[in-house]
């Protein structure tokens, strides 16, 4: 997979991923889908898969591949759409999302051959596992990186901070984590549920922290992702990407009702139209 694609290429991928998310979520029918959590981190995930990360969909077990862990596993649509766009599994499998016997469950399972590295969805755990994977790379003298995306609400979990300490102790500068700072969680606004100054706290824990003011802007995201990769501070890296929950679909943006919901035909059509308008804007 070619690394360091152009900004325009990644923007196109991001748009395609948004479309895939809508298709998959709509196909899930009454089961619904976590649309908002996926839409907010599309640029982050696209930036990781199509710019930062060294990987090869034709060789998913390649030992030197960078690893990706979606710790906020409920945003699996973003993950699956990146895998489809990268070519890890055929597009027509998307409609099996959440279906009987499908491997595309509502939270990622572990299927490395399809690019799914770690089962996640129990918040807090993916990040802690990612730290172990980064340590293993160090122990084995391997040069690959581990990327991890977590939620801002997820940072309520004590496990996150146990892992954060451990990452610093182990000098895991091969770990690049991104907090999808969409400022919402399940029950409300993040600052109302647990008001955390994430930047200050992560810094205090000893991480190298960068804030991306517009985490839905591809150029900003990939710039910081790639800077982090070449940083030599010896510290683990944390990016706080300020994003919009539900980004790209008018009725979903900053609307908690779309944290997880089934999508009817009307909404589906409106979402498709919104994304088409974005494409025209982009051209």
């Amino acid at each position: 997979m070619s690394n360091r694609n152009s900004v325009e290429f990644i923007q196109k991928k991001a748009l395609a991923m948004r479309r895939d998310c809508i298709e998959m979520g709509y196909a899930a029918g009454s089961h619904g889908a976590h649309f908002g959590p996926a839409m907010s981190c599309i640029e982050v995930v696209a930036g990781i898969f199509f710019s930062a990360m060294n990987h090869n969909p034709q060789d998913p077990f390649m030992p030197t591949r960078d690893r990706f862990v979606l710790s906020k596993g409920h945003a699996c649509l973003a993950y699956y759409s990146a895998l489809v766009e990268a070519g890890y599994f055929p597009r027509d499998l998307m409609r099996t999302f959440k279906g009987d016997n499908s491997f595309l469950s509502g939270h990622p399972s572990c299927h490395v051959k399809h690019g799914l590295e770690v089962a996640s969805g129990s918040l807090g755990n993916g990040f802690a596992v990612a730290c172990g994977m980064a340590k293993a790379a160090k122990v084995k003298g391997e040069g690959h990186y581990v990327y991890c995306v977590l939620g801002d609400g997820e940072c309520d979990e004590g496990l996150i901070w146990e892992a954060a300490m451990n990452a610093v102790k182990n000098n895991l500068d091969n770990l690049i984590a991104v907090v999808d700072r969409n400022s919402f969680q399940l029950a409300g606004r993040t600052h109302e549920i647990m008001n955390l100054n994430l930047e200050a706290i992560w810094k205090a824990f000893g991480w190298e922290v960068r804030v991306v003011e517009d985490g839905n802007d591809v150029l900003s995201v990939i710039t910081v992702l790639n800077e982090m990769r070449s940083a030599t501070s010896g510290k683990p890296h944390l990016i706080i990407a300020k994003t919009v929950k539900g980004k790209g679909v008018s009725f979903m943006e900053n609307n908690l009702a779309w944290h997880a919901a089934p999508m009817g035909k009307d909404k589906y059509e409106q979402a498709v139209a919104d994304l088409a308008a974005l494409e025209i804007e982009g051209n």
Partner: protein
């Protein structure tokens, strides 16, 4: 004096009044599923007892606690997405005399906070209640991180812990009021998808530790816990049409087990089926088998539940079918084993 009257009197004296729930309310709860039932029940309990507090981990809308929060903004504490902290915080409230109900997803509570429940609810024997919503595999499409197959096993192994799994809207309501009245740690697992049927249309006496015989029968005893009781009753209906007489028992309290009921079943029935939306290891089936192990002679037991493997992804109907928990599958199993 009737038992029901005594219960009523006890509740009155304690200042908790358990009103009879109207059929319309029950129908609404049945339509919306166990989550609305628990949210609204806690609201009713909160109105009756000003010492009732609710704690949750970012689940206020999920457990339909929105109305409770509106009515009692100072009596609902959201600790954020932090299940271990949820239990310890709740234990602390209980330690100082409040009556807290912690509400979490059964996939994470009690598994994620098993030690907190062991030490700070069980060992300290505190009067704290934990409600696990979406127990079993109703979250079928969400994958194995969101299945609660092992929560009974975990909670049941904790000394002092009472474990309850009510079967329908009215029994959830009754179980919550009973748990509030009972002094000691309780884990209550809730199952029941939107549309889960009302199995108890009339008022009845719900006592912790006292199983309910829903159907009498000679040949087989189907002992069930949770909303899958509807399938057990369905199986009994199918069996009746085939001339097989099935006793159906709602073992809503898994700990302490109603051994008096089991003594009767072991003496009177030729075959025992335990039915639960939980792993075949460590749940109701395990509890019954453990008790049965002390008998010189007792009927054969078949343990019906979720197989001991991570489950496939799929709809709730698919899950029940895949685990042999539908009425017709249960009935077939009985027929095969009786012939």
């Amino acid at each position: 004096m009737s038992k029901r009257w005594l219960t009523w009197l006890r509740l009155r004296l304690k200042g908790i009044e358990m009103n009879e729930i109207s059929m319309e309310t029950l129908q609404e709860w049945s339509k919306l599923g166990h989550r609305s039932t628990i949210g609204e029940t806690l609201l009713l309990l909160g109105k009756e007892n000003s010492n009732v507090y609710v704690t949750t981990a970012d689940l206020t809308p999920t457990a339909r606690l929105t109305n409770f929060l509106k009515a009692f903004p100072d009596r609902l504490f959201d600790v954020g997405i932090a299940e271990q902290n949820l239990i310890d915080f709740t234990a602390g409230l209980a330690k100082e005399g409040l009556l807290p109900f912690a509400v979490g997803l059964a996939a994470f509570v009690p598994m994620r906070c098993a030690e907190q429940m062991r030490i700070n609810m069980g060992y300290m024997n505190l009067n704290a209640k934990v409600i696990g919503i979406e127990a079993g595999v109703r979250f079928g499409p969400l994958g194995n991180t969101h299945f609660a197959m092992d929560d009974i096993a975990v909670a049941r192994a904790i000394p002092n812990m009472t474990v309850i799994s009510p079967s329908d809207p009215r029994s959830i309501y009754k179980a919550v009021f009973a748990a509030a009245e009972y002094v000691g740690p309780v884990y209550m697992r809730l199952t029941g998808a939107p549309g889960f049927p009302i199995l108890y249309p009339d008022d009845f006496d719900f006592q912790i530790g006292k199983a309910i015989e829903c159907r009498s029968g000679r040949d087989v005893a189907i002992i069930s816990t949770g909303s899958v009781l509807a399938e057990a009753i369905g199986a009994a209906d199918i069996l009746r049409s085939k001339g097989i007489s099935a006793r159906v028992v709602d073992m809503h309290t898994i700990k302490p087990l109603d051994t008096e009921m089991l003594d009767r079943v072991f003496a009177e029935n030729r075959l025992v089926l335990t039915v639960e939306e939980h792993s075949i290891i460590g749940g109701l089936g395990g509890a019954v088998a453990e008790y049965k192990a002390g008998f010189d002679r007792s009927p054969k037991q078949l343990i019906c539940g979720l197989g001991d493997s991570f489950r496939k992804v799929g709809s709730y109907e698919f899950q029940l079918q895949d685990n042999g928990l539908t009425a017709s599958q249960l009935a077939d199993l009985v027929v095969t084993n009786l012939s």
